[in-house]
Subunit: 219 residues, 2 copies
């Protein structure tokens, strides 16, 4: 195994490190900006200067997925942008439901950037009767009791959890039992679910606490 000859292109089986995965969307964003600005080609060196990383890291990262560049030339921006989009799964339909239609849930539903990257909010859910029936950017807020039926009838990829900490674990388990593929969790709690469901946590309190740490530990 790992024979140089055999390695010509199994490609798919390659395990990508978490550190690399976390950097991919940032490359994608920079490439999109370059494309919008009419830049046709870019070298790892020039991109590294814009992004404040090393050129070496860029080349290493990209080469996990194949050789997208050309010696003496660099990378074609549009081609690389598209390829990165495919790698990130943005060419696929990514339907999202949002559990909890408060400010945060509505903020996600209103976010234009998700929409323009192939993510589609297909429904919001809440327990609050004053929110149920409302529409956020044309997407309806349903009663949480409709969740089961809705997930059965629609191809939902991701559930965003923007509800109180106290209610999050039970809903997470329910969603797992309904076969949801991934949870995007904004509640300040960790779930204990089997790892056939993917979980991405956005712990805002933890984010601001690291900022507080850095402010107060300044020397």
């Amino acid at each position: 195994m790992d024979d140089v000859r055999g390695a010509v292109k199994p490609a798919n089986e390659k395990v990508i490190s978490p550190a690399v995965i976390k950097r991919l969307p940032r490359y994608y964003r920079y490439l999109g900006d370059l494309l919008k600005n009419g830049v046709v080609r870019i070298s790892s060196k020039e991109l590294s200067e814009r992004m404040n990383v090393t050129a070496s890291q860029i080349r290493q990262d990209l080469n996990n997925f194949g050789g997208f560049g050309q010696q003496g030339y660099g990378y074609n921006v549009e081609f690389l942008y598209r390829e990165m989009g495919k790698i990130l799964g943005l060419d696929k339909t990514n339907n999202i439901i949002i559990i909890g239609a408060g400010n945060l849930g509505q903020a996600l539903a209103n976010n234009q950037e998700f929409a323009s990257n192939g993510f589609s909010i297909v429904g919001l859910f809440d327990v609050n009767p004053r929110l149920v029936g409302m529409a956020v950017r044309g997407v309806e807020v349903y009663d949480i009791d409709m969740l089961e039926d809705f997930v059965r009838d629609h191809e939902v990829m991701i559930a965003a959890l923007t509800l109180p900490k106290s209610k999050a674990p039970a809903i997470a388990e329910k969603l797992y039992s309904l076969g949801i593929k991934a949870l995007w969790n904004f509640a300040p709690v960790d779930f204990n679910l089997p790892d056939d469901v993917l979980v991405e946590n956005v712990h805002l309190s933890e984010s601001i606490m690291t900022l507080s740490y850095r402010i107060h530990s300044r020397n």
Copy 2:
């Protein structure tokens, strides 16, 4: 330098790695939950099982800041919780302003968790005249033109940027020139500011893209 004898306790000068800093708030959260549940003492082993990390890592991390435990006993939950709070600067006043009073800005202003950890939202700012004058949880929304005066008259530590990408860089520079200590940036853009201002980015699009990657690269 780094003489073993000399190392007895300069303590303050110790450089803490980013990896460690990022984990601190999570320790703090688990300790707070334990405290609320009446747990008096905990060993690194037991905590490691709850948190899904190694006991070794917990002991290494904590020992960056001092010896909080006791051999044969473990750690006193309340004591460690308080100490972590101090390390994170949560015992200090952390005044925050929010630039952009849309859904996301309001979500932050409404977040109870920040308040209970010593963060205090002291003002929101927006260009939209329909939002100006409103109050979110008792905090007023000011016209963005009031920003300069406000920052001069109040001790603002952190500015949260929850405004459109297009307007973020200019506001960031303005805040920098007003001497703000730290930016908590939710706009999908990176700033190029001198490093005497701290920046913590929350790039939600990047977060959900890594989730998309993981969903679609599943083998």
